[in-house]
């Protein structure tokens, strides 16, 4: 295992891959130094929360109440469009070297974990900041922030959770998906904990609103304890259980290390997480600094998510999407639109990204984007008007090969192929056996060879 591959492994899993000009700089670092640098950058970036530029924050609750129905509908539609803009900006942030790849990676992980579909831009910004500001903080704070988040309260119907008619949706997902996992609670626990979250509501401005009249102040019996618990205390009781730490660590392992769970390693992580009082930074630091994280079997074994694929290409070629529509068309076609997970369980990931349609798109993607070819592809629409079929669409991007060429130009033929594959592929491949020469275009050898390597199934792995 070369040092370059190990550093790239770290950057793929803790970020979104390296830019070509970062290879030399980062390979001079030890793993520990590289990890420390990632965390330092994350802390710095965390100082600036995402700003709401949508102007939606200016619409007060009273303004919104006085709007007519049609105005509200128009407002909602405009709002959804602005959420798409936040998606676009987020992807840009992931590959912006003056931001923090680790912080954005963690935020993306938590978006997948606390999956939610915010409908309005100012709510989306609130949701994103709840995740981002706690992404490497304390898990308890994160759960609490998400429970009080306007987008989540709406998404899981907690606005309808009232003393007189409890809605259990939020409580169920809190236990099943967000904290302790299936099989560790009873239906009774759901009913009782739902009472503790009654009256946890929100307004148009996106504030958390505690509606005292709708809250059930009575006794609840939860996980064998009885008391006049509120939501905060319920979360405490859930987190007292080591099972909760184990469930989260198992998800972390699955996402950051390997699809195949190794119980012993998960137990090691659980110790760190639980004993630290759910300190996410300590957990992730431990993971990224463990020797076993860089074991052969973990490197290059993960199927890239659509976001991994898109950001990886953006890093390689300094690729910029000319519009949010172009980016979102591609996300849709590949099956992962930010702020629009399939459901509250998030994206299943792994092999489920792949079918014949998405794989063929993926294998041809680098070339199609760089050469700006038409996509003969029509993603499923959002149930809207039938309209004429628009099968062909150009995904407008600009690419800049300067950094790429500076890094790889001037190498002799065999060396070039090796250097490119070392950068682009995280799996072993016998480069001498590839028919690269027969398919390489001699007028722009570096680019042409890179695009060939990026059409291999191996490029889909990270």
């Amino acid at each position: 295992m070369t040092d370059q591959r190990k550093i790239q492994h770290l950057y793929w899993r803790a970020g979104f891959g390296l830019k070509p000009n970062q290879i030399r700089e980062k390979t001079t670092l030890s793993i520990d130094q590289a990890v420390d640098q990632l965390f330092r950058d994350a802390e710095r970036a965390q100082q600036s929360p995402i700003k709401d530029n949508s102007n939606y924050g200016d619409i007060s609750n009273a303004d919104h109440l006085s709007m007519g129905k049609e105005l509200k509908v128009a407002q909602r539609k405009k709002g959804r469009n602005k959420v798409r803009k936040l998606n676009y900006q987020w992807v840009k942030r992931m590959t912006n070297p003056s931001q923090s790849p680790l912080l954005e990676r963690m935020t993306l992980f938590w978006h997948d974990h606390f999956a939610c579909m915010p409908q309005q831009p100012h709510w989306a910004v609130g949701y994103l900041n709840a995740l981002r500001s706690n992404a490497l903080g304390n898990f308890k704070e994160m759960v609490l922030a998400v429970s009080k988040d306007s987008s989540m309260i709406r998404y899981l119907n907690n606005k309808q959770n009232r003393k007189t008619s409890p809605n259990e949706n939020f409580a169920r997902e809190l236990l099943e998906l967000f904290t302790i996992g299936r099989g560790n609670y009873t239906e009774r626990d759901i009913k009782e904990s739902a009472k503790a979250f009654t009256g946890w509501s929100t307004d148009f401005e996106g504030n958390f609103v505690f509606k005292e009249k709708q809250h059930d102040f009575g006794n609840k019996t939860f996980f064998g304890k009885t008391g006049k618990f509120d939501g905060d205390e319920i979360i405490d009781i859930i987190l007292e259980k080591r099972k909760t730490a184990e469930y989260i660590c198992s998800k972390i392992y699955h996402y950051f290390v390997n699809d195949q769970i190794d119980k012993q390693r998960v137990s090691e992580l659980t110790d760190v997480f639980y004993n630290s009082g759910y300190d996410i930074k300590k957990l992730m630091m431990h993971l990224f600094k463990s020797d076993w994280f860089y074991a052969d079997k973990h490197i290059g074994n993960k199927i890239k998510s659509p976001i991994d694929l898109i950001t990886g290409m953006a890093n390689a070629f300094n690729m910029k999407f000319e519009s949010k529509d172009a980016l979102i068309f591609l996300q849709k076609a590949l099956g992962q639109v930010l702020f629009a997970p399939p459901n509250v369980a998030g994206w299943p990931g792994g092999k489920s990204w792949i079918d014949n349609s998405t794989l063929m798109l993926r294998l041809n993607l680098a070339k199609n984007l760089v050469e700006q070819k038409d996509f003969d592809f029509k993603p499923k629409d959002d149930f809207k008007a039938a309209g004429p079929s628009k099968a062909t669409k150009k995904i407008a991007v600009t690419t800049n090969f300067n950094l790429f060429n500076q890094t790889f130009n001037g190498s002799d033929e065999r060396k070039l192929a090796n250097k490119l594959s070392e950068y682009l592929l995280q799996t072993d491949i016998n480069i001498d056996k590839l028919p690269l020469d027969d398919f390489t275009n001699n007028t722009d050898k570096v680019r042409s060879m890179a695009l060939l390597l990026m059409s291999l199934p191996e490029y889909q792995m990270c």
Binding site: K69, E70, M117, N169, L177, D259, Q260, D296, K297, G300, N301, I303, A333, G335, P342, N343, V344, A345, P348, G350, K351, S352, I354, D355, N356, S357, T358, L359, M360, L363, N364, D376, F377, K378, P379, K380, D381, D382, F383, K384, A385, A386, G387, S389, A391, T427, D428, I429, N430, K433, L434, P435, D438, L452, S455, L456, P457, E458, Q460, M461
Partner: protein, 414 residues
């Protein structure tokens, strides 16, 4: 199916050439999945269809939530006219079928299918605690889950996993560019294809073909093997369908829309005795919140004309008894129209079966009760998973419980 015919087929030859060496070995000293991949992609037996029944199933999905009440119209019900002062179909215009129910006037094709005893209409299909989000409700229909349960595989995908493990992915074909969750299993996926020629061209990447043939060192990691296998399957299925799609050409007029073109594709593949046995077709645009009537009727007419053409082709070729067509939508619409000349998301809805061997043609059960609503919405009578169980057991002849996770009472319909 006829093994000899198939082996003659060119696609098989190209498939085995494409198999990279690591998949060809029976044992790489690695893991089980490689062995399975070997079985599925290299031995000829798995390229042969495993379908025992020879029956075809066509599923038509109305995306967006079809307004069932304006499709099959309760033209004697005052409550219907009271709730729909602007949108109701007038009793005079309805194509009368039953004492109380009739077809939307644009559904002349569907009405004649009904008159021929080839249509069963199941009223009031839905599920408990209905979800009014398109995405979520469609998910529920695709995965056959309860409304508070999140499954990551589709019911037809699980059919491939459990009951058709030797089948090719194109056994289950969605005529579209992308694959719906309904067709995704844990081990296996169905196949998505909108245009055979275009897809075949996309899979003919010479560099990849040559590369796959090379003996290169590969870390036998589960996921990369899976990608190679999917790629090779895609190449061979694309070839197969491309060749099959040229065998029979229909002269029947289909709607000149994308939906019509897709149905025609289905008809021609069925007529060519393709290995594909389950077809999935989408008709989208039913989310009619605003100015519903024109849009809704355009869609219904497309559907009705399309079904009429398909039934005609199947009948002419003696294939109607072997084919079952099921049409559903993720939910119906609210009983009361909204203030924008449209309707909002609702719950229970009607579902159609078309075929030559229906046990109970006509109306399977009574119309929805408009006097007993839940928050303005219809209350379902028949859980849609009972319908799936019926299709799986009585049509595809497999154990529905393995696929749906539990038993559901079947309907006496197919």
């Amino acid at each position: 199916m006829k093994r000899r015919n198939f082996i003659k087929h060119t696609s098989l030859a190209s498939t085995s050439l494409l198999v990279p060496s690591f998949l060809n070995k029976t044992s790489c000293g690695t893991n089980k999945v490689v062995g399975e991949a070997t079985n599925n992609s290299t031995s000829t037996s798995t390229v042969i269809s495993q379908s025992n029944t020879g029956k075809n199933l066509v599923i038509v999905q109305f995306s967006g939530g079809n307004d069932g009440l304006n499709t099959i119209v309760p033209f004697r019900n005052d409550l219907y006219y009271k709730n729909r002062p602007n949108l109701a179909v007038s009793a005079k215009a309805v194509l009368k079928a039953d004492n109380d129910l009739g077809f939307n006037p644009v559904l002349t094709g569907l009405k004649s299918i009904y008159d021929d005893g080839l249509l069963s209409i199941i009223n009031n299909v839905g599920y408990p605690n209905p979800d009014r989000s398109h995405f979520r409700s469609m998910d529920i229909w695709h995965t056959a889950s309860a409304s508070d349960e999140y499954l990551q595989t589709g019911w037809l995908g699980r059919y491939l996993d459990h009951s058709c493990s030797g089948c090719n992915s194109h056994h289950l074909l969605e005529v579209d560019d992308s694959l719906s969750l309904a067709l995704k299993g844990k081990q296996r996926n169905g196949f998505a294809m909108s245009n055979p020629k275009q897809l075949r061209n996309l899979t003919q990447n010479q560099f990849l073909k040559t590369t796959a043939r090379q003996k290169h060192k590969i870390k036998a990691v589960d996921n990369i093997d899976f990608l190679y296998k999917t790629m090779i399957d895609a190449q061979s299925s694309a070839n197969y369908i491309f060749e099959k799609s040229k065998v029979k050409k229909t002269q029947t007029a289909y709607p000149t829309t994308e939906f019509g073109r897709h149905l025609k594709q289905v008809a021609e593949l069925i007529m060519a005795d393709s290995d594909t046995k389950i077809y999935y077709v989408n008709l989208t645009g039913f989310d009619t919140h605003v100015k519903q009537q024109r849009q809704h009727e355009l869609l219904l007419k497309q559907y009705s004309d399309g079904m009429n053409a398909l039934v005609k082709d199947l009948k002419t070729n003696g294939l109607l008894d072997n084919t079952l067509i099921m049409t559903f939508s993720e939910f119906g619409r609210r009983v009361k129209e909204n203030s924008s000349m449209g309707t909002d998301h609702g719950t229970a809805n009607n579902l159609f079966f078309i075929g030559g061997k229906l046990k109970k043609p006509g109306f399977y059960n009574e119309a929805a009760n408009l006097a007993n609503l839940s928050e303005g919405d219809l209350i379902h009578q028949i859980d849609f998973r009972r319908i799936y169980a019926t299709v799986l057991e009585d049509w595809l002849e497999v154990d529905a419980k393995r696929i749906l996770g539990k038993s559901f009472d079947k309907l006496q319909v197919v």
